[in-house]
Amino acid sequence: MSISRRKFLGWLGVAGISTVLDKRVYAASNKHFSGYPDSGGVLYDNVLCIGCRDCENGCNQVNELPQPDKPFDDLSILDNKRRTSPKAYTVVNRYDGIKDAKGPVYRKIQCNHCLEPACASSCFVKAYTKTETGAVTYDSSVCVGCRYCMIACPFEIPTYEYDKALTPRIMKCTMCYPRLLKGKLPGCVQLCPTEALTFGKRTQLIKTARERIRKYPDRYIDHIYGEHEMGGTSWLYLSGVPFRDLGMREDLGITPAPELTKGALGSVPIIVGLWPAVLTGMYALSKRKEKIAREEKEEAVATALAKASAEAEEKLSKVLTEAEVKNQTAIEGAVKKALGKVADNQTKEGT
């Protein structure tokens, strides 16, 4: 009985300790966030892309964007490089004459839907959301129009309706979030004739991409763009030519955007916490200095006065004793002189 109780208590103790230990383990300081589990993404494979602009067409239809200046089956527009604009969430560019590339190479540009979006991190009104589907969405109903997201985005994707006076919005690819919720494909993926755009779970897409590289080592560059860039993006790229030849930046680093401002923002509470102490300390110091200064001054004055009067007394008495032998008039004369001295002595030292 008693033993069993002791045992029982012992177990309790062990249990308690172990749970504590467990907590410690889980509260490890080096936290790691790997994004929404099996969120979606798209793999763009420019080896399969034929530059037909059907993706632009699909995007245009889904998002009810204005008709383009050149119809989507007019490919002459590919002769010059374009970027995303308020009228086109996605554009395809053609690159000719790239070293050891058979023909023209294409590049599709649209929001990469970062795992840790810079736009979301930079938005001071939370207009951006990284959704569980992988899509990064934007809510124009709260947007103030500060355009900090455009500054922050390393891929220069968000665009702005500069020509709207009162209701300008940021315009950017939404990965067709509403369609995703309905279980449909993004417009561009839907219309792509060659599956140069593959929709799927990001984890699976990375496997697929690796497999393609493994099977056709001399058709692909051995790099999946977006796997790690800026902490990883939901949109991934395979290419037959170096990404830099397609104007895709390879110097972005792998640091997710929130990490970049972490330190600076972290210092805010520190300053708020410590400045008051420091500053009031300074204040106290300066006050004290003043006080001491004042006291010293007063003291000095007092002592000076005292000294002066003392001297005066002494002189006076001395003169008197000397004066005994002299006659009255002499005495008076001397006395007057002495007093006079004292007087201007005092005026001298009194001030």
């Binding site: 900090y148 401002t261 400045w275």
Partner: protein
Amino acid sequence: MPRESATASKTVLSSFDQALKDLVKALRETFISPFGFVYIIIILLGLILTILRFTKGLAGVTNLSDYNAWGIWIGFDLLTGVALAAGGFVTSAAVYIFGYKKYHFAVRPAILTGFLGYALVIVALNYDVGRPWRMPYPFILQQGTTSVLFEVGACVVLYFLVLFMEFCPAALEWLGLKKLRKQLIKLTLVLTIFGVILSTLHQSSLGSLFLIAPSKLHPLWYSSYLPIFFFVSSVFAGFSIVIFESALSHRFFGDKMDEALQKGREDLALGFGKAASLVLAGYFAVKIFGISVDNHWHLLGTPYGIWFLVELLGFVALPCFLYAVGVRDRNLTIIKWAAICTVIGVMLNRLNISLIAFNWHLPSADRYFPHWMEIAISVFIVTLGIVAFRIIASMMPILHDHPDYND
């Protein structure tokens, strides 16, 4: 008792219409003056452009693009404006916290400029931002707390209030509201400390704004030290602008200055000059450390590197040296020039980071250059500030102590 109050209210009333008289006088002085005409022209133009801005949108008046989302309204009006408005917190800190009582006369002008400076920054933002009326959203609707801009916004607004309260006494003296003024005066120290805290936060955060774009800002300017650079530079910017200002106001408002201020000017220039010189030296040092920790020495040989050196040597090292010489020789002219040089330097630095060295990787075709209307609007806003300063300075006890109040 009732009689007293009656007399009190009478005096209040009298001081009120006195104030009104002052106002009218001030307005007349300001606009019917050699500059008056220029002011009016600029303000009229500004109003026209304002209409354009809010009817045609940003596209109507700016050269902003999808690559260059921020122009001079941010680079100059916001960044430079805030940096140069640092005079307020620097001076009040020096006087009320560090106990340099002898500079007390400089506090009010500095506070006023700071106050107006921030006011103008806010005005400018109303032009730059897409939907100005939504500016409170981040604070009342959804708090984007991960954003550096959120912190900047919050601090700027709060500090603006602080400056307002610090400025109030002058206004209240003008209006003759003694009691209220007394209450405010009591708050001086608290306000000052708040001011320093908030300034530290947002001055540095303006630098942090760019931490999120390492791939766009030229490596020589991008550094994890950006917030520190911005704060430190704001400090010597503050010192310099105060020196510069006192020189100016001596020139223009000599008549409104009491002899205390006249005498104090030299003192101030020497004191602040020495301080600025030291801070500049420190800034110079940390900038160098900034290069060495990122090992960007090799970039100094490139064109951008030369430009960087121009900024660092011409507008940091040089004024630092000038200040030192000026202080040694007790030479106000040198100090004044040092101050000017520093102010330009800070301006240059802010423009470099926000415009010139930003998006440096883009082909020149995609780079930004301000539209004349953008510049015009900036000029308009600055003019508003100057006018406001003139009016207020000429009717309120800013550059001189009010006879009734001697505490």
